[in-house]
């Protein structure tokens, strides 16, 4: 299932392919693993693309459900001769540094999380706050009731960045708009990312109070927010990938105003590409300027405000607007 | 009905070997034998619970084969087990109709069931109230439910496995009059007991089983003495609980004054109970079940906190001592319900040796226990008290009831005791073991032990006690000299010498109120 790339390296493009074929990429996912139609799948898409276009062989592994063996996955990949090795998700923070010390000759790449001081660890981060800022702008422009909301998975650093960016975006357009903020789990607790029922109840209440657009960085729980939006005939904004495309249900599609895109796939692909080309894989912060974060237009619901969105986007890129990760 | 050549083997044991038993219509047929002789096994075979390895059963001349109790029930055989088979949390009605429910559509037809039960109850004088919860009923009531269960299913042959072991004399009489009615109605009754006098009194014929085989059938019980029967059973003489000379001293070992214990809503369980037990004295407590004996025992052992009154052990006030401290100070305890209170059934004998004495050397201690010492002691008890079991590592549950009882007594008496509190020490024990237990009690008494003896066996009480107290409704109503009192006189004190109202009905009423309250909580959440 996961060795598609191994069996038939796509005949792909010359030049790059020649060097790519000797490269064995390893990837360790976040809990949930390949097939989560979200964060992990986005990384997998980048990996698959590297297989096709660069001709690399690769192997990917998923952690146990308690996430206890992330370090083992990295070691398993390193022992298997893979290089570079990617770790998907904040939780590889620390673990990857430790393993990187054990395998100084292997290039490690982490998606998300704080910077690392190790030579052989590169960290790819995303300016979620910038993308979220645009979502806040979109919500502020689209709201008719002057009330918008957030239904977030938990109160971790990443989700807080989503929330903070969104709020700044709303305020930039119209400070008088009310913003409600509800989280499903306390602190770092991940349960809120797998509780669609809770998300739906929370979203329903918001819609009944007059909120007409909800931003929902809550992983698998998002579908609950979409259900509530569809039922109430109001909007929801998805996260990570273009959820209009992935939600799979025409009824729910109608409720998804736009999605904040986090291009994990490009980050994965590009870092592998850099590695193959012999370049030094460096920690990079993907943001609006390099399309590392952005927004989707599927459904065409925000076609009328893309100009304004792009205007704000440019201001952020130009540094005229600074978006903070924290409130 | 006839059993021929029945043989049944269990791992390592032949419970029945070539047993023959014929039961006629309309007779009460008693089966007697030592503990472990194979009586219960035989009855379970008859009731389809076990399959015999050899031999045949025939009913009305036709050979039958029972795969399960269901088949036996269909053939008109019903059994009242030695340990009651009742669901405590069910009503009388539910217990009786279970497995043979009248129905109205998909519903259980409670009205029809109630009617039939009342009818049966009336016909055989069982006095059942269908809607009472079983857990609130006395042992005798439970027994009548068991009998009703069998009759409800139209049984023609009724098996009663040791029905009298747990009954007081009045209840035994009531049971026997029930049996007489059954016999009169043409039913056959198979009746197992260790009490040979009562067997002679009630049975038309007696079959004696020894070590798994039938050794004799006595056609004329009245003409056979208990001594002869005992000889057939164990090859020894019938023991008596007679004590010879008094060993009572002047030293008061245990004293209770003004003990009182109130129940939640009903009448007082104990009221101003005052007595003294001296070294070398056996103080017997007589009373119909439910008149405060259990509570008194529990108060002495520290299992219940009295509301008022003092308890002294020698010179010490032990009223506020926790239970384990009392044990450590040398109070031995033979509880009423050995199965549930005295033994860890799933634990080996050596662990059971420790139970209650885990704080006392040599096997127990303040912090540590010594398994090797406990094993050695368990072995000693087994030897000295003739506990028949493979060894100290045998699980207590594998012992027959009689052997369990001997072990418990051995355990309690093998420590240096100051006081022994014994409740029904020979209940359900065969004659051989009975005499051994009595001997031990006498020896200990001679050595200066102060004993509190509660028993439903009046002969035992009269024979062993130096002083006899009668408890009625939680009060001591009489202090008697056993040498001068007859069982009849004692019986009249026990039932409330002055009043006409029987004591048992008193307890029945108290339970009635409680039951009403329970029925409420029950309903509330339904």
């Amino acid at each position: 299932s996961d060795d598609d790339g191994t069996d038939d390296p796509t005949t792909g493009t010359d030049g790059e392919g020649a060097s790519g074929e000797d490269v064995q990429v390893g990837m360790a996912f976040d809990v949930g693993g390949r097939g989560d139609r979200s964060f992990n799948d986005s990384a997998a898409a980048g990996l698959d693309r590297a297989g096709e276009e660069l001709g690399v062989t690769f192997q990917d592994l998923s952690p146990a459900s308690d996430g206890s063996n992330r370090d083992e996955l990295l070691r398993e990949l390193a022992d298997g001769g893979h290089n570079p090795i990617l770790g998907i998700g904040y939780a590889f923070f620390e673990v990857m540094d430790t393993v990187a010390d054990e395998y100084p000759d292997v290039q490690f790449i982490r998606i998300d999380g704080p910077p690392s001081d190790r030579e052989n660890v590169a960290v790819m981060t995303f300016a979620e706050e910038q993308g979220s800022f645009l979502m806040g702008v979109a919500a502020a422009l689209k709201t008719e009731t002057g009330q918008v909301g957030i239904v977030g998975g938990n109160e971790g650093e990443v989700i807080n960045a989503f929330g903070a960016g969104f709020k700044q975006g709303v305020e930039a357009v119209d400070p008088s708009i009310e913003i409600e903020d509800q989280r499903l789990s306390p602190g770092e607790e991940p349960a809120g990312f797998a509780d669609p029922a809770g998300a739906r109840v929370a979203a329903e209440a918001m819609y009944q109070r007059g909120v007409d657009i909800i931003y929902t960085p809550a992983g698998d729980s998002n579908v609950g927010t979409f259900q509530a939006a569809a039922e109430a005939g109001k909007w929801a904004i998805g996260t990570d990938s273009d959820q209009y495309e992935t939600v799979g249900d025409p009824e729910l599609q109608e409720a998804i105003l736009t999605s904040m895109l986090k291009r994990v796939d490009s980050a994965v692909f590009e870092s592998i590409n850099t590695f193959i080309e012999g370049g030094d894989v460096e920690s990079t912060s993907y943001d609006l300027s390099d399309e590392g974060v952005g927004y989707s237009t599927s459904g065409g619901f925000i076609d009328d405000i893309t100009d304004e969105l792009d205007d704000y986007k440019q201001q952020i890129i130009d540094g005229e607007i600074e978006v903070s990760r924290t409130e | 009905m006839e059993l021929t050549g029945i043989t049944k083997r269990f791992p390592g044991v032949v419970a029945n070997r070539d047993v023959h038993l014929a039961v006629r219509h309309g007779e009460v047929h008693a089966v007697v034998g030592e503990n472990g002789a194979g009586k219960s096994t035989l009855m379970k075979i008859l009731y389809g619970m076990y399959k015999p390895d050899e031999g045949t059963i025939s009913v009305d001349g036709h050979p039958v084969e029972f795969g399960s109790p269901k088949d036996a029930i269909a053939a008109g055989i019903g059994m009242v087990h030695q340990h009651f088979m009742l669901a405590d949390n069910f009503t009388v009605l539910e217990n009786i109709v279970l497995g043979a429910e009248p129905r109205a559509g998909v519903r259980l037809d409670f009205a029809a069931a109630r009617e039939r039960i009342e009818e049966t109850s009336e016909r055989y004088g069982l006095g059942l109230r269908p809607d009472r919860l079983v857990e609130e009923l006395s042992v005798a009531d439970r027994q009548r439910i068991e009998i009703a269960k069998v009759l409800y299913r139209g049984a023609r042959v009724l098996i009663l496995d040791e029905p009298t072991a747990v009954l007081v004399p009045q209840e035994v009489d009531a049971l026997f009059s029930n049996l007489a009615e059954l016999r009169a109605a043409g039913l056959s009754v198979i009746f197992i007991s260790h009490k040979l006098d009562e067997v002679r009194q009630v049975a038309d014929r007696i079959t004696v089983i020894r070590r798994g085989s039938t050794v004799a059938t006595v056609d004329d019980p009245q003409a056979t003495s208990s001594r002869q029967l005992a000889h057939l059973m164990v090859g020894s003489e019938l023991p008596t609980p007679e004590t010879t000379e008094s060993t009572v001293t002047d030293v008061v070992e245990l004293a209770a004054s003004g003990l009182a214990l109130s129940s939640q809503d009903g009448p007082d369980l104990l009221h101003d109970v005052t007595f003294e037990v001296r070294r070398g004295e056996i103080a017997g407590f007589a009373g119909v079940e439910g008149n405060g004996q259990s509570e008194l025992v529990e108060a002495i052992m520290g299992l219940r906190k009295p509301d008022a009154g003092l308890l002294r052990l020698g010179d010490d006030d032990m009223t506020s001592w926790p239970a384990h401290q009392r044990r450590m100070a040398g109070i031995g305890f033979i509880p009423e319900d050995r199965h549930r209170q005295a033994l860890l059934l799933d634990a080996p004998l050596w662990e059971n040796r420790l139970l209650g004495w885990q704080g006392n050397p040599p096997a127990g201690g303040r912090f540590w226990i010594r398994p090797q010492a406990a094993r050695a002691e368990a072995a000693t008890i087994m030897r000295e008290y003739d506990v028949r079991a493979p060894g100290p590592d045998t699980i207590a549950d594998a012992l027959s009831g009689g052997n369990q009882q001997k072990f418990v007594i051995g355990r309690e008496m093998s420590t240096t005791l100051r006081v022994l509190v014994a409740a029904h020490p020979t209940r359900g024990v065969d004659v051989g073991a009975q005499s051994a237990i009595w001997d031990r009690l006498r020896e200990a008494r001679a050595a200066g032990l102060a004993t509190v003896l509660v028993s439903a066996d009046l002969e035992e009480l009269l024979g062993l006690s130096d002083t006899l107290y009668v408890l009625f409704r939680g009060r001591i109503v009489a202090r008697l000299d056993p040498a001068e009192v007859t069982p009849e006189l004692l019986g009249s004190y026990m039932t409330g010498a002055a009043g006409q109202e029987g004591a048992r009905f008193t307890t029945g009423d108290a339970a009635g109120e409680e039951q009403a309250a329970r029925a409420d909580t029950e309903e509330e959440s339904r």
Binding site: A194, D220, V223, G248 | A87, L108, D131
Partner: protein, 415 residues
């Protein structure tokens, strides 16, 4: 069944319960008026309560059915997981009714394994349940990888394709059309508007499946306490040896009970899947365990477990629907009043120490709820657990599990 002796008392007892319930509701209404937190009694909260309570309630009912037959079922979570997967698979192929079938089969399959292990092979009930929870979590992943491997229509290793939604309806006149209850809710009268809100919430936006699940409560009660089958069923949990001696096939009863138990847990899973439109890995989130707790909370009785699930669902609904932690503070005030009432009652019953403790707690809750502006978010998210614990601690429990609950029963090995 009528109990002549208890009848008079029973009536007054039922009335007392109703009275307590009514007083409690008035107190809740008062809290609502004082704090202005309409979320406490709004129709939305009532509806959300139903939605959040039903999955738990079905698991609790499943637990009840198994334990009444003497089999402890800690595997409810696993059976519920299998139910959600079955619902996703069945719903994908045949819509909501297919989901119902799939959920029942999925849950019942878990029950069958549990029955096989505990009844036929005499494995310790708790071990078997824990093992089933382990196996179920892994199994659904396996199945998804096999069935949705090609990403069929939005399915994947962690989710099923969307299954379509079930039609919903409201009770005519009361909750639609003239919508009497809805209007009552809008009146803003104390007590009446609260009552209107709660009843409106419970009678509108219903689905056939919610009704089926709700009907399981009285149905289970009826089967267990009013039919011959139920009597035999319970006898297996009270005294299996006695039951067997009367010709009851205890093994069959236990099998039936445990399989039914699984199916009910599966039904609970269905409620979750229908509510969110598709199966998602991990969406049960430990609700099977909460169901077990609710059943014990309810003292092994349908009414009690409904109350337990309802309480949990209610507090969960309040905290999820609250726009700020003020609503949770209002709930805290209510709990404080509750504790105070019980404390005073204990004082009256002369249980001084207990009453003192309760009154101190009550005081803390009341003062806290009035003095604080906000609660840490960690506390608000824990609301349902805290409230359940507080209610349990204030109500003295005389638990009465079935007598032979959890015991290994082997035919012919009785003592």
């Amino acid at each position: 069944m009528t109990r002549p002796e208890g009848a008079a008392l029973r009536l007054s007892r039922t009335r007392r319960m109703l009275l307590i319930l009514a007083l409690g509701f008035v107190a809740l209404s008062a809290v609502r008026v004082i704090t202005g937190e309409t979320v406490l009694t709004s129709s939305g909260t009532a509806r959300a309560m139903l939605i959040l309570a039903l999955p738990i309630g079905m698991c609790a009912l499943g637990g009840l059915v198994a334990e009444r037959a003497g089999v402890i079922n800690i595997g409810l979570e696993g059976m519920m997981i299998l139910g959600t997967w079955g619902a996703g698979f069945g719903g994908w192929h045949y819509g909501p009714w297919g989901a119902l079938l799939g959920a029942l089969i999925g849950g019942a399959f878990g029950g069958l394994i549990h029955a096989l292990a505990t009844v036929t092979f005499g494995v310790d009930h708790i071990v078997s349940g824990v093992a089933i929870n382990l196996v179920a979590a892994g199994l659904v992943r396996f199945l998804s990888e096999a069935v949705y491997a090609d990403g069929a229509q939005g399915g994947g290793p962690t989710q099923s394709p969307p299954i379509g939604s079930a039609a919903s309806f409201s009770i005519p006149v009361l909750s639609s059309g003239p919508n009497l209850l809805g209007r009552l809710e809008d009146t803003d009268l104390p007590v009446l508007s609260d009552l209107g809100g709660v009843l409106y919430g419970l009678t509108s936006g219903l689905t056939a499946f919610a009704l089926i699940a709700l009907a399981m409560l009285p149905l289970t009660w009826f089967v267990l306490w009013r039919t011959a089958l139920g009597l035999r069923w319970r006898s297996a949990g009270e005294n299996p040896v006695a039951a067997e001696s009367l010709g009851v096939n205890v093994y069959r009863m236990k099998y039936l009970a445990v399989i039914t138990s699984g199916a009910l847990a599966g039904l609970g899973g269905l409620m979750l899947v229908l509510f969110t439109g598709s199966y998602r890995e991990g969406q049960t989130g430990g609700r099977g365990y909460i169901g077990l707790a609710a059943m014990i909370f309810g003292n092994w009785r349908p009414g009690g477990l409904a109350a337990g699930s309802g309480l949990f669902g209610y507090s969960d609904a309040v905290r999820l629907r609250a726009s700020s932690s003020a609503a949770v503070l209002a709930l805290l005030l209510f709990v404080g009043i509750l504790l105070a009432a019980v404390g005073v009652w204990d004082l009256y019953r002369r249980r001084f120490v207990l009453s003192a403790v309760l009154l101190v707690l009550a005081g803390a809750a009341i003062v806290g709820s009035l003095a604080l502006d906000a609660l840490p978010s960690e506390v608000t998210t824990m609301t349902p657990y805290l409230v359940t614990l507080a209610v349990l601690a204030s109500a003295t429990q005389r638990l009465r599990p079935p007598a032979a609950d959890g015991m290994r029963y082997r035919r012919g090995e009785e003592h």
